[in-house]
Assembly symmetry: C2
Homo-oligomer: 357 residues x 2
């Protein structure tokens, strides 16, 4: 089969590019999009809105939906005397980095001629999919856990999404995939969503050059951001622009699935629900995440106290972030103290604090 | 006195550039900064963070504080069949266009060696000043009306500001200017704040060229955004880049001070508190605003129903805005129906909806 096509991440079975299959029908593993990528700075199309400026390095899409996402600022600070760049990826149309996945996911949905979509989310991804979906005129159904933060629920409802909140995050996923009345585009599986995530690596390269990838600290919820960064770094390496990457992944206590897989034990902290964006267990792309971490970095776990301490510190400096963003910052503090991180450090802050008030 | 200096907008008395006078000591009118400005696209300094890329066209400032503000996206829509560009100026570090004033105001405060600042605000300006102030390590005191939206109060408190909420917006102003323990930097008066506002005109020119100024729709609260745009347009005209501007100012019913001044009567709607950012009466820069509107445009008034209708319409399209932003959109709808606005239209959306949930 010629590229582009979809391919199972496990059994490598191929599916047509126009397939609406959301996971492999044989082994239920996530699919990837396989397509030709040749990144070059000269082929960035600055006339396009938002992240579509990178369309030459993304899967082919006809409908180009954008709410002006991307191009988020970097603020330089000193963290424990180390030069540190905060990538404010929460300064997005819907207040989180999830818009990097939604602009392309929703555009692809339009290409497929679908009119109703179904998503499961702890909050931010649902809001992002709902906003882009409404902009595109789609019907939206979001399934979430019963304890989704109130502010996020309100935003979802105001966006005109039909919202079902019951049980845990895992329950929400099970409900969503069993709905028949619409296309399931769950971001934990959706291969287009994942491709959109790599744009953060392109932006970081444009903003900081090679320095962006010397010590990059990334939260791990479903792991799409980490995998997206790795995909982007690969493109940059293939283009001869970057030599490699060193990543520190950060998980929340009680949801440290990657940590357990690598270290064979839990980190020993009490489980915390504080960082709602990181409360993902049974990560569909766990194997891919573990492979990247084993090869290019390390993973650390932060608990409730570490998260709140970082949260207060960031707000006190004027950064309006949610606890899930603070968790990443807390992980960076650990990474410096343990000696894993040298400078310069890049910390990706992923969610706005304005939804949590 | 050589430029730069401060100058009374009414009696033209001059003050030293380093004066901490917040209004004219003789006639109590606001002061302006007078300085040399020569705008040119070639002198934009893209290596600087945030709005400091325009430092060559701003008053001289040593300390350059930035949280990555500016460069907000433009999304093209069709409004009543007219080509319309929404400038999403709420996608800012603190969720409103106020950051265009705060980055320079707080930087100037540092130049003056001040450690505590006092501000009065209906909400967004206070949040913006507080975030930039905290980033700069200053003590912050904010005075607001008793009915400031709950979400905005929460954000202010989390930022570590000391918050006093009593009486009306006018009461808050009176309280703030009578405080002795700190420098009053109220954005309704502050001349540096006003200069920062003009950056939106520069950005619009970079994004849309001359088209940006054919039919631009701007909210009028204190009027600093409108006056900022006019200042920016003047710079662009002096540089030979723009021929002129046509502005539609939008006020909220019951706060239509500019409308009353121009038309000699109220617009006849019931007073509304819905658009909290537009609830400014006794505008210190009223005369300047009226002069701009008389010469370059018109003013319209929107009431509660018009604002909520626009609010629902914007959310339903995926734009997460607050009622004060919706008011401007409602004004644009009126402007199209009345025939005042041709295409292309630019609507500035000023405040995020995430603080209001």
């Amino acid at each position: 089969m010629d590229k582009p096509y979809l391919q199972c991440t496990k059994c490598k079975r191929k599916y047509s590019y126009d397939s609406t299959q959301w996971c492999c029908e044989h082994c239920s593993a996530p699919l990837n999009v396989e397509y030709e990528i040749n990144f070059s700075l000269d082929n960035i199309d600055y006339k396009q809105l938002g992240l579509w400026k990178f369309h030459n390095f993304l899967p082919p899409i006809k409908n180009k939906i954008s709410l002006g996402e991307g191009n988020t600022p970097i603020v330089k600070i000193s963290l424990l005397n180390k030069t540190t760049y905060l990538k404010l990826d929460y300064l997005m149309p819907t207040g989180s980095f999830k818009d990097r996945g939604s602009f392309i996911t929703i555009s692809r949905v339009l290409d497929l001629g679908v009119s109703k979509i179904i998503e499961d989310s702890s909050g931010n991804a649902g809001i992002s999919i709902a906003a882009y979906g409404r902009y595109a005129g789609l019907d939206i159904e979001i399934h979430g856990p019963i304890d989704m933060p109130r502010g996020k629920v309100e935003v979802l409802k105001k966006l005109g999404a039909t919202v079902f909140l019951m049980g845990s995050r895992v329950d929400a996923h099970k409900r969503a995939i069993n709905r028949k009345d619409g296309l399931y585009i769950g971001h934990l599986y959706n291969p287009f969503y994942l491709e959109g995530m790599k744009t953060v690596a392109y932006e970081l390269y444009i903003q900081l050059g090679k320095d962006a990838f010397r010590n990059i600290v990334v939260p791990i919820g479903s792991g799409t951001l980490l995998l997206g960064i790795w995909r982007g770094v690969k493109d940059l390496m293939n283009a001869g622009l970057v030599d490699g990457v060193k990543i520190l992944g950060v998980e929340a206590a009680g949801y440290e699935e990657v940590y357990e897989n690598i270290y064979g034990r839990s980190a020993g902290y009490e489980k915390t629900e504080v960082a709602d964006g990181l409360r993902v267990y049974n990560k569909p792309r766990l194997k891919e995440i573990v492979d990247v971490i084993r090869k290019y970095g390390d993973v650390t776990v932060v608990d409730r106290d570490m998260i709140w301490l970082a949260y207060d510190e960031l707000w006190d400096k004027g950064f309006i972030i949610e606890p899930s963003s603070a968790a990443t910052y807390a992980g960076a503090v650990y990474g410096i103290k343990s000696g894993f991180l040298d400078e310069p450090i890049v910390i990706i802050l992923t969610g706005s604090g304005l939804k949590m008030i």
